[in-house]
Structure formats: C-alpha cells, structure tokens
C-alpha cells in the first residue's frame, strides 16, 4: 500500500468513527443515568437527515455564513491528516506538528464564531463571545501541555512524541506525562463543548455556548458543523489516546497492523468516551464565570507538567 494513501485513509476512518463516538458517549451516558438511550448509530441518521433537509438562512446573513461550515469542516479534516490516528510516522508529518493542529482547530472556532455573529442574533453573539473566551483561556494550557510533551520527546512533532513512549514505555508514567494528560483532558472538555463547561444537550438558549453559536444553522450546513464538532472531539481523544498511550498504533504500514491500529484506537476512544460520560453524569454545568477557574486549574496542571518534565530530566 502506498504511503500516500494513508492520509485519505486516516481521514476516512476519522470521519466514519466520529459520529459513532458521539453516539457511544450519549448511549453510555444514558445508561449511566438509567435511561435506555438512543442507539449508538443515531448521529449517523441525524447527519443523513440533515444533509437531505432544506437550508433556512437568515435574511441578515452574508456570504461568510455560507462559507463558514466548509472552512470549519475543512480545517478539522485537515487536522485528521496530521494526527497520528493509525500509524507513526505519518507521511505528512513534515507539514505540521502539534501546534499546527491546535491552530487549525482554532481557525475553525474563529470562523464558527464569526458565523455566529453574522445573522445578528443575540444568541449567536452570546455564543461567539463565550466560545472565544473559553478558547482563548484554554490556549495557554494547551500550549504548555504540548511543550511538556515536546520537551520530553525533543520535538513538537506528533509522530516523535508517540514513538518516544513506544521506545521508552516507562516514560508514559513520568509525572510530567501524567500531568500533561490531565491538563489536556480538561482542555478537551472545554474545547469540545462538554460538561462542565458547556452542555451539548441543552436547549435553553441562555446556557448555551456552542449550540447558541450555531443556532441559525440548518440542513447541510448544520450537518457539516455537527460532523466537524464530532471530529474535533475525536481528534482530541486521539491526541489523548495516541500521544499518551500510543500502544497499538501501527509502526509499519501493513494492512494487518493498520487494522489492529483501528481496533485499538476504537477501544481507546470508547474508554475515553466512557470517562467523559462518567464525568458528565456526575458533574453539573459550571457557571460561565467559574469556567476560568477550571481552566486555570488545568493551566496549573500544565505548568506543573512542564516543570516536572524539565526538573526531572
């Protein structure tokens, strides 16, 4: 199999798995809350329905409103090309490192916020404002956590970070590593609109962040945005899974190894999804103005992670 086919393969795997991940989390959450829950494949059905539906656009919206879903979706898909989903090293590793991943995701958020402002809805503005606030505050944690990893691995390159743990397994339990994991986990909750920062299931406008921003979207645009959101969650989970616990990632590009890698990835994602489901079941949503406290806690974790990684070297 040609090396260059890996990229589209990765993207397709990610695209296919992402809605399922959302469905799985929802299902697990429902079970934990003693509900039956919708089936795991429900998100796929929703996407299909949305793609088929008519699009209603606000009379105030400009071209940006139409372009934003494509940019959001496109930037997230581009990220899946860079993240070591299935194998290391990736053919495109030279194109971008972990920072590029973070900033590509921020690009999506940027346009989504703009699109939220575009129709002139007060909810869109509110969502955009809050989303950007959370994104801005999550940024330092993310960066420091990345540098904690990078300092250990001697590179911000995703592949190298993963390979290092594979070669020196004991590093996986190094304090810097663990702390960085915790920090990124908290950031994941914030960045992907999970509880306790945002409630993905809410339908009360005033408490919404992400949902408020995309309130005006419908039809295929909404489908793209929802899909991109699930993809983003998947990317974060993949980072958590394959950078911190990289076992199972294919080191050689044989069909068997890749298949094994897909399977382990799915398992790891399920485990992380389960963790999120547990967290979401046990924790209520925070007030918006207490979110910074959570994020500063994660920042401290990241700071400790960096400090630990260079003090204990």
């Amino acid at each position: 199999m040609s090396v260059w086919l890996l990229a589209p393969l990765q993207a397709s795997v990610a695209l296919l798995l992402a809605p399922g991940l959302i469905g799985a989390i929802r299902w697990m959450k429902a079970r934990l809350q003693n509900r039956r829950g919708s089936p795991v494949w429900q998100p796929y059905l929703e996407l299909r329905k949305l793609f088929a539906k008519e699009v209603v656009v606000s009379s105030n919206a400009s071209w940006l409103f139409h372009a934003a879903p494509f940019i959001v979706f496109g930037s997230t898909v581009t990220v899946t090309l860079l993240v070591p989903l299935l194998a290391v090293p990736l053919p495109f590793a030279g194109a971008g490192d972990l920072l590029v991943v973070v900033y590509l995701l921020l690009l999506g958020t940027f346009f989504l916020a703009l699109a939220g402002l575009d129709p002139g809805s007060p909810f869109g503005g509110m969502g955009a404002s809050r989303e950007m606030t959370v994104a801005a505050l999550a940024e330092p944690t993310m960066a420091l956590a990345i540098f904690a990893l990078a300092w250990g691995a001697g590179s911000t390159d995703l592949g190298q970070i993963a390979s290092r743990i594979l070669t020196i397994p004991s590093e996986a339990l190094a304090p810097g590593h663990v702390l960085a994991f915790a920090a990124i986990f908290l950031v994941t909750l914030a960045e992907t609109g999970r509880l306790p920062v945002d409630n993905p299931g809410t339908h009360l406008e005033l408490t919404m962040i992400h949902e408020a921003m995309v309130l005006e979207y419908s039809g295929r645009y909404l489908a793209l945005i929802e899909w991109a959101a699930s993809l983003k969650l998947l990317v974060f989970f993949t980072l958590l899974a394959n950078l911190f616990v990289p076992w199972g990632v294919a080191a050689a590009l044989t069909p068997g190894a890749l298949l094994w890698s897909v399977l382990t990835l799915a398992l790891k994602l399920l485990a992380l999804g389960g963790a999120v489901a547990v967290v979401e079941t046990h924790i209520a949503k925070l007030r918006l103005f207490r979110v910074p406290e959570l994020l500063s806690a994660s920042f401290i974790l990241a700071l400790l992670a960096v400090t630990a990684s260079f003090l204990l070297r």
Partner: protein, 670 residues
C-alpha cells in the same frame, strides 16, 4: 529613493490641493518605496554593500554617514513594503482634504515621514541615526495633527511628542555614554562599547530600552500609542503601526546586539518580561476597546510585545551561549516584525476605509458593512485571520516559529530562566488565544450582522486606489506565509552574525518545509495552506455533488419568537468583551454605571436604561499622573519665587552673592 520621496514632497507643495497633488505625491512616495525595496533587496539578498558618507553635512558633529547591512535592510525592506500600498491608498483616502491646506500638509509630511523613516535603518552613526529618528517622529507628529480639530487629536499629539522626547533624551544618553567623542559611526561605537565597564553597559542598555521601547510602544511606555495612532489619517496609522514602531525594535537590536554585542542574562530576561507584559496587557486592552482604530493600536502594543519576546530570547540565548537558539529567536522576531507590518498595515487601511465610508470609528455604531463594502470586508477578514495567528496566513508562521524558538529556553540549566521561559510561552499562547477573540470581535461586530446606525447602512465601497493598496498587503500576507521557507533563510542569515560570532544557521530550507535547529520541529506553511484549501474545496464539491439539491430558503433570524429583528437586539462590541472583562476584572477594575429611568407613574415600567462602563487606566493613573502632579507642584513652588516684590528679587541676588562669598571664604584658602 531620496529623490523619489523628495519629489513626492515637492509635488505635494507645488501642485495645489487637488487630485493632481494627491497623485503626484503618492507617485513620488511609490517611486521612493520601490527604490527602497531595491536597495534593501540589494543589500540583503545579494549582499551588495551600500555605503555613503556625507561628511559635509553636519560637519561639526562628525558628518553624516549611511550604510546598509542585513539588519538595516530588513527594516528598510519592511518599511518600503508597506510604504507603497499605503501611499497608493493615501491617494484615494486624502480626497477628504481636497481644496484644503491639510492636503498639502499630508502629502508633504507623508513623504518626509517615509524618507526619514527609510533613512533610520540606513544611518551609520549616532548623530545621523538620531537626526532621522527625530525627523521621523516629528513628521509623523505633524501627520497625527492633520485633523487637529477632532476630539483628543491635539492631546494625542502632545502625548506622542512628549513621550518621543523623553525617549530621545534616553537615547542621547545611551549613545553618548558609549562614545562621546570620535567619529560616532556604528563601527567605532562597537569598538568603544567593547571597552566600557559593565555598569556603564548596563546603563546604556537600560537607557536604550526605555528610548526604543517607548517608540516601540512597550508597556508601560505605550501611553502615546493608542492615542496617536487612531488620531492620524489611516494610511499614516498603518505606516506608524506597521513600520515606525518597528524602528524601536531595530534600534534595540542595533544598540543591544550589534553595538553592545549582548550582555548579561538579565537584559534578555527583562526584555522578555516586558514583552510578555505588553503582549498580554496589550491584547486585553484591545479586547475592551470599542474604537476600532484604538483596538488596532492596542493590538500593535501586543504584537510589539510578541516581537520583543523573540528579541529578548535572542539576548538571553546569546548570553547563555546558545547562539543557534538565539538566531532562531531573532529570525522569528524579525519575521513577525515583517508580518506585522503587512497585516497591521492592511487592517489599518481597512479601518480607514470604514471610517471614510461611515465617519465613525465606534464599533457600536457599525455593523453589516460586509454588504456595502464587500472588498474591504474580505480584505479585513484576511488581515484578521493573519493577525490572530491562524493558518494558513503569515501571522501563524511567525508565531509558530516564536513558540519553537522559546522552547529551547526550557532546557537551560538556570531554573529561573527556565521558569521565565515557561511563563513567556504561556503568555504567548494566551495572547494568541485572546487575539483570536479580539479579532472575531473586530471583524464580526464591524462587518457582520445588521447595521447599527444609518451611516453604517449607507456605507459605500472604498475608492479603487484604496482597494488596490489593501489587496497588495493582503497578497503580502499570503505570500509571506507560503514563501516563508524562502524568506526565513534570509532572515536567519541576518540574525546569525548578531547573536554570535560562530552561530550555525538554523536550517530552514528543506524544500517547502521549515525545520528548526536539530530537527526539533517541522512545519510547511505551503503544505498546510494547500492541504486546507484542497480539503475545503473537496468538501464544497462533495456537498455540491452529493448533498441535497433543495434551494435555500431565506427567513428571519430566530429571536425567541419575537418577529422583528432590530439592531438594538444585537450583541455589541462592549457586550462581546463582557465575559473577558469580568474574568480579568481584577486587572481592568471596570467601573460600571447603570442608570434607569422609570416611568413617572410606575416603577414597573422602564423608560430607558443607560449603561456606561470604563476600565481603569492603570498606567496613566499610577505611573504618569503622579509624576505630572509632582512636576506641577514644583512648578507652583518655583513660580512662587516670582512674587512680584522687587525687594525679594534683590534679596535673591544679594543672598547668592553672600553665599558664594561665604563659600569662597570657607573653601578658598587652598
């Protein structure tokens, strides 16, 4: 170059106050800028030395001398890069002043400004440097005062020139401490600096930092910047923000790294600290601004802070004996300086177009301009993405490089430095995040949604010359991103000799990929841009091909069931920044004032609510105001001497006579 600008200046004076004068002076400036680019490229890319000595000028002070090395060429190139589009833009923008003497003033001073600013990096010698430095300040001061009737404009000019002057006093001290006799050329300064005692070197550096930091707008010396930049005509703001404040960076590099050759680690640490402070506070101030040009001005403070992080890291790494890391940091800082020139220039030009079309800079009165001014909106969006440091544009590349260049600092043996570096990295990341939020606000509130005032509704697209100027800069933003792997090797060639005698150059040009030293990280702006473009295009095609074919339906925006959507229901600029204002309340110390008018009949019917909120101007209140008050107090005391009584006056005279005679009597017997 000189003749181009001179011709432009003369044209502005000669051709009256009509379209001809506008175009003639712009043409002069463009010719001058083109020559500047050629000169810079000659010295920089092909290493052609440029030396010109004019001992006849300013003979008594050692004569003038010019030469251009790589560092100067970067800044000359940066200036010229933004000068031509701004001048072109100015030709359309200045139509406001047709038939008024102000046009003559703008045309003339703009050319003088560009000329003196271009000669600053060419100057080879303390006096020549300071002369053009002051020329640059003075001409831009006149440009700031173009619309002196506007509110706060004169005050802005006052602050600006006053701060400049305090800076100049420091610079004079710095240069003269290095060498007070002799030819004064940078080569001789370098030789003299090598023999200075450590204390003097520290003093020189501190003075240079204050002098150049003030010009660059480093917090807490930034107070003039958010006043002066908005007050100036927009293409001048673009030049001031894009190019002029960079001269502060240039000066610091020239004196600190070139002439002094670097110093102890605390120099770098200090610069990093101030840079981080400026970056974070700058963007925090920008976030709460409602005036779009002030927002951009504060964002310049932020970006200068970001550049200074790189500069400081270069100082630090040099003193720690890590020349390669230093070269990388310096190259990143230089690259960010060039990038900032491109996108901040673009943004100021865009803001100018908005101001031109609507007559207001208050974002709470704007909105919906994307329909009336599609070009301006699209170009402003490009600038916003670039300045927010998002791929695939140039701001991202330089921020990425800065991150990478600060990273080696974590590994230095001194824990203090390492902690500082970690904090700097965190601040840089926070800045980047806040910048994204800030420019969502700047673009979103200004250009999107429903117009908030009749002026915004009636806005028209900018003149073609203005648009061409903006397009050129937007193109530069993209070119600087995808061409980074071509430009960065050149920048590192400039940086390497500055940070150490034998610094190996950071490897940059692996095809289209950037690679930092020792393979620490790789990134290809071109591939990222291409990949992003391809994926977005593919998505669009896929949706087009496979998605629903049902036509769009236009409906009202959802307003909780309310039928009519009015601009008053929209999120405003103030509202957008509210969460951050609350989160950083400890810093902003916002004062809020809500006054509610009730219906006279019943308290349950509200007639109007007015909300006013202001953030506390810390630096003005706690740093500048006490000094000003103290000086005024002393002034009153001194003026009390002039009491009007001739007897008192004569008493002073006799008293000083008696005192001096007494002094002689006591000490005179030697």
């Amino acid at each position: 170059m000189v003749s181009g600008y001179a011709a432009g200046a003369a044209a502005a004076l000669v051709f009256g106050t009509g379209a001809l004068a506008r175009w003639a002076s712009a043409l002069g400036a463009i010719v001058g800028a083109a020559a500047g680019v050629a000169l810079a490229a000659g010295a920089w890319v092909w290493g052609a030395a440029f030396v010109l000595e004019a001992p006849g000028l300013l003979g008594p002070a050692g004569g003038m001398a010019f030469s251009l090395d790589g560092l100067g060429a970067v800044f000359l190139g940066l200036t010229s890069l933004i000068a031509a589009p701004s001048a072109l833009y100015g030709a359309g923008y200045s139509r406001t002043w047709d038939g008024r003497p102000a046009l003559r003033q703008v045309g003339f001073m703009l050319n003088v400004f560009l000329l003196t600013m271009s000669l600053v990096p060419l100057a080879d010698g303390a006096l020549t440097f300071l002369l053009f430095w002051e020329g640059m300040s003075l001409s831009s001061y006149f440009l700031v005062l173009t619309e002196a009737d506007g509110p706060d404009v004169v005050e802005a000019g006052q602050w600006y020139l006053a701060m400049t002057q305090i800076g100049l006093a420091c610079l004079l001290g710095a240069f003269l401490l290095i060498q007070s006799g002799g030819p004064g050329s940078f080569a001789s300064l370098r030789a003299a600096a090598a023999e200075l005692p450590a204390g003097t070197r520290d003093a020189v550096f501190a003075l240079a930092l204050v002098g150049f930091g003030g010009k660059a707008g480093l917090i807490p010396l930034h107070v003039w910047l958010p006043r002066a930049h908005p007050a100036a005509p927009s293409h001048v703001s673009a030049l001031m923000s894009g190019a002029m404040i960079k001269m502060g960076v240039y000066g610091l590099l020239r004196v600190g790294l070139d002439v002094l050759g670097g110093g102890p680690a605390w120099w770098g640490a200090l610069v990093i600290g101030l840079g981080a402070l400026s970056a974070v506070l700058g963007i925090l101030y920008a976030l709460t601004e409602d005036d779009i040009k002030r927002l951009l001005a504060y964002s310049s403070v932020e970006n200068i802070g970001v550049i200074m992080l790189g500069v400081g890291a270069a100082f630090l790494f040099k003193s720690l004996g890590m020349p390669q890391a230093g070269a990388l940091a310096l190259a990143a800082a230089l690259f960010h300086a060039v990038n900032h020139a491109a996108f901040k220039g673009l943004l100021f030009l865009g803001a100018g177009a908005v101001l031109h079309a609507t007559g207001t800079r208050d974002m709470n009165h704007l909105g919906g301009l994307i329909r009336g001014m599609p070009w301006t909106a699209a170009l402003f969006l490009v600038g916003s993405v670039a300045i927010a440091g998002l791929p695939p544009l140039n701001g991202f590349v330089s921020e990425w490089l800065l991150f990478q260049s600060l990273l080696p600092g974590i590994g230095v043996p001194s824990p203090l430095v390492a902690v500082l570096m970690v904090l700097a990295l965190g601040m840089l990341a926070l800045t980047a995040g806040l910048a994204a939020a800030c420019f969502v606000k700047a673009f979103g509130i200004t250009f999107l949604a429903i117009p908030r005032s009749p002026e915004a509704l009636a806005a028209h697209e900018a003149a073609w010359s203005m648009r061409v100027g903006m397009v050129a800069l937007a193109g530069a933003c993209l070119a600087l991103s995808v061409g980074a792997s071509v430009i960065l090797p050149l920048l590192s060639a400039v940086a390497v000799p500055l940070v150490g005698p034998a610094a190996p150059a950071p490897v940059f040009n692996v095809g289209v990929t950037l690679r930092t030293p020792e393979g620490f990280a790789r990134m290809s702006p071109l591939l990222v841009a291409a990949g992003l473009g391809l994926v977005v295009l593919a998505t669009w095609l896929a949706v087009r091909l496979f998605g629903s074919r049902r036509p769009l339906r236009v409906g009202e925006t959802w307003g909780c069931g309310r039928v009519v959507q009015t601009p008053r229901m929209e999120y405003t600029s103030t509202a957008f920044a509210e969460p951050l204002r609350r989160i950083f309340a400890a810093f902003y110390r916002p004062s809020e004032d809500v006054s509610i008018d009730f219906h006279p009949e019943s308290r349950y019917f509200v007639q109007s609510i007015s909300y006013r909120s202001a953030i506390e101007p810390w630096f003005e209140r706690y740093l500048y105001a006490p000094v000003i008050a103290r000086v005024r107090l002393w002034s009153e005391r001194v003026l009390a001497l002039q009491s009007g009584s001739v007897h008192a006056y004569l008493t002073y005279l006799v008293a000083v006579l008696v005192l001096l005679l007494g002094w002689l009597a006591v000490t005179g017997r030697r």
